[in-house]
Amino acid sequence: MSVKVIIPTPLRVYAGKADSTEVSAKTVGEALGQLTNKFGDLRKHLFTEDGKLRSFVNVYVNDEDIRYLSKENTPTKDGDTISIVPSIAGGFV
């Protein structure tokens, strides 16, 4: 399952400046795991020390918030796009 993960602007510095990466994953949790294995510096920005997604990190699969799907267990299929968005409205300029 090839899934595209969009890396938000403020985190690109920890991902070799990449704006996105392709991973092979059956769930959102797997995809984020692969993302942080690939770019280790991203881990502390997305997860707490005990491995939970930080409270202000929102994850979307094709514009659907995973909170309202099956959270990290949300299944992914070929061609899906995962976005990582901080829960602030004004955003980063």
Binding site: T9, S55, S83, F92
Partner: protein
């Protein structure tokens, strides 16, 4: 213009306690209460901590001040004339302020925002009659800003684009308003001013004015401790695009605050003070406590901060349900 009158009066003594019937909602922008903390920080007996309760602004946040200031400056300069539409890229408090002010003054407002903006935000904005231009969620705010620039470039005569990051009327609204209110409400006793940096308008405007009134006042800016954070309106200057109005040499000190610590303080302040603060307001309070800790016991201090908004628009955040 009504807005001008309000700006001028905010440099004098607030007199809204005897408000006349028939005033505009815009007359309620500014002159917010300066609340004193009773419980949090009481271990520092020599220090008083006070916060401007900016949710008393009619749009619910501190952003009413710069939004009104920029609209007013546009009206004065002729950049905003009847027939034009106010446009910007924000789903945050500035967008809400534009939507309210546009509605009150009879100017249409268009806001570009990413699809990922919360449903609550979209509803507030549409309730005020703003037109929403939804951009792809995966492009976040970058996509929304690109859209605004495209729309303005395609039809410059149609739009008034205030651009809060580079508009001096942003910080001037705090120079003439917020700073003088703090000076009057503390009877000139303020010793420290602490606030978060976003557009940096609050910090720039208040600091410039307070330093004129008393150069001994220490002004401390706050930032998130990482580029990716949950403190709405705040910027991690080292990694963000730096706003044109920001002058980093103005701060006596800069302190970093973590998002999770701010979330914890939101809960503490609600329960111990009866103050339902937003995460960024709670982060400002953490900054005050950090400053208080370093003040020698034989020195009396009055620390003032700005509580940018209340928790009302953040009630669906996940942190309420987490430890």
């Amino acid at each position: 213009m009504f807005a001008t009158k309000q700006m001028a009066s905010s440099t004098g003594t607030p007199h809204y306690s005897s408000a006349r019937a028939g005033e505009s909602i815009l007359a309620r922008i500014g002159n917010t209460p300066l609340l004193r903390l009773a419980s949090i920080g009481r271990e520092f007996e020599h220090v008083e901590i006070c916060g401007k309760a900016e949710w008393f602004n009619p749009g619910g946040s501190v952003k009413d001040r710069p939004a009104l200031g920029m609209v007013d400056a546009g009206l004065k300069s002729g950049a905003l004339i009847p027939g034009k539409t106010i446009i910007d890229a924000t789903s945050g408090n500035t967008g809400i302020a534009y939507a309210m002010i546009g509605a009150a003054l009879g100017y249409p407002v268009t806001l570009c925002l990413p699809n990922s903006a919360s449903e609550e935000r979209k509803r507030i904005l549409t309730a005020y009659g703003a037109t929403l231009e939804i951009t792809p969620g995966d492009e976040a705010t970058d996509g929304a800003i690109r859209r605004v620039r495209e729309m303005v470039a395609a039809d410059p005569a149609k739009y008034f684009y205030p651009d809060q990051y580079s508009n001096p009327a942003n910080w001037q609204s705090h120079y003439y308003g917020t700073a003088n209110e703090i000076w009057e409400q503390t009877a000139g006793r303020v010793t420290h001013f602490v606030t978060g940096l976003g557009t940096s308008g609050t910090f720039m405007g208040v600091t410039r004015r307070l330093k004129e009134l008393n150069p001994g006042i220490r002004c401390i800016s706050l930032q998130p401790d990482a580029p990716f954070h949950g403190l709405e309106g705040w910027k991690h200057m080292a990694t963000a695009l730096v706003p044109a109005i920001y002058d980093e040499t103005l701060a006596d000190e800069n302190i970093e605050v973590g998002t999770e610590a701010a979330y914890r303080m939101v809960k503490v302040a609600a329960r111990e003070e009866g103050l339902l603060l937003s995460p960024s307001a709670a982060a400002a309070l953490l900054g005050c406590l950090h400053v208080a800790k370093l003040i020698p016991a034989d020195e009396h201090a009055l620390i003032v901060t700005v509580f940018a908004d209340s928790a009302a628009k953040y009630l669906s955040e996940r942190f309420w349900d987490e430890e």
